[in-house]
Subunit: 199 residues, 2 copies
């Protein structure tokens, strides 16, 4: 069986995580979401809390930038965290089949062959509804919350890569999860994966 | 059987037309590409040549704009052509299942229920290769030609709609045709269509 590497970039509330998790289960391969933070922490020796606090977001505060602490080799600390994750992603993908959620994994693996990059989106109202019903976000704050998380992820991706987040040319497949729901979207991505890897 | 309406927006050279044609054949429904021009000509009484000359492109020349001839009701002539096509698309989609290629069909049908909008892309080098091998474009001009046609289509779409061409949120599925080729891409879109329309 050929090694299968699937990265999933997702709009917040689109169900991308659930889709990735089910896809990995269905394909019988490893799933990496928060587990990536453990691996990056372990290999870098930096406490996991730092990865969690800075997960897929950049600190834009001017005061923060003025007071930025520098990490290994004079590199700003959040860049150190990014590169630790980046290396963890490359290590995983060089070892075994997996589904990797977010964290610029498509960019980290840009020179790997046979990677399938998927973008999962959905209309804003669908994502807001899911944020309330599935993630328990308060109704009155839900729309702003969804938009804020997206904005953080977009800013993080665009800062660390030479690509623009959510442009179809970065992905082999973009799917609107509201059309087929979680199960149908998993099925569709699985169809692509099976046809592509031919086994 | 429920009515199936699929619009396909495509980057030039991605094989979108072939994919649309095969998809329509496989689903046993009508395929509209240049045939749309016939219908628009017929219903508007404007000669087909005008539709062909202005197909999915806008005339940006300053001299042209100065000399613009006005059509029905004082509307610039290229707008008249656009609206004739727009109406032809809406008429077709209200009557029967079909696959419609380009021509802002996703926008023309934005208030229709149950339309699947697909975007077909592929890396530039793949499209240039196909332009030479499949469409017989001269190698030395092929890259510029591919880029020019895309630019025309983008400009046309962005002018006539309130959306941006090629943004994933406009489509239920975006597929890179270089991953699975024509047949595989048809199969994938067909999977989506069958799951969505549930028959």
């Amino acid at each position: 069986m050929s090694k299968k590497i699937i990265t999933i970039t997702r709009q917040y509330g689109s169900g991308g995580r659930e889709i990735g998790e089910q896809l990995a289960k269905s394909l019988g391969i490893e799933f990496y979401d928060n587990k990536l933070l453990d691996l990056a922490a372990e290999s870098s020796g930096i406490h996991r809390n730092h990865f969690e606090e800075n997960d897929e977001k950049r600190t834009n505060s001017f005061l923060y930038l003025l007071s930025t602490t520098y990490g290994q080799g004079g590199v700003p600390f959040d860049d150190t965290l990014f590169f630790a994750q980046h290396n963890a992603i490359r290590k995983i993908a060089s070892e075994h089949s997996c589904v990797i959620m977010g964290r610029c994994a498509d960019y980290a693996l840009r020179d790997f062959n046979n990677v399938i990059n998927v973008f999962v989106s959905a209309p804003l109202e669908y994502r807001v509804k899911r944020a309330v019903e599935v993630y328990g976000i308060e109704q009155k704050h839900a729309e702003n919350y969804v938009k804020r998380i997206d904005k953080q992820r977009i800013s993080y991706y665009n800062y660390y890569t030479d690509k623009r987040w959510g442009q179809p040319q970065n992905y082999q497949l973009c799917v609107d999860s509201s059309v087929l729901g979680i199960d149908g979207s998993v099925k569709l991505i699985e169809d692509l994966v099976k046809m592509y890897y031919k086994d």
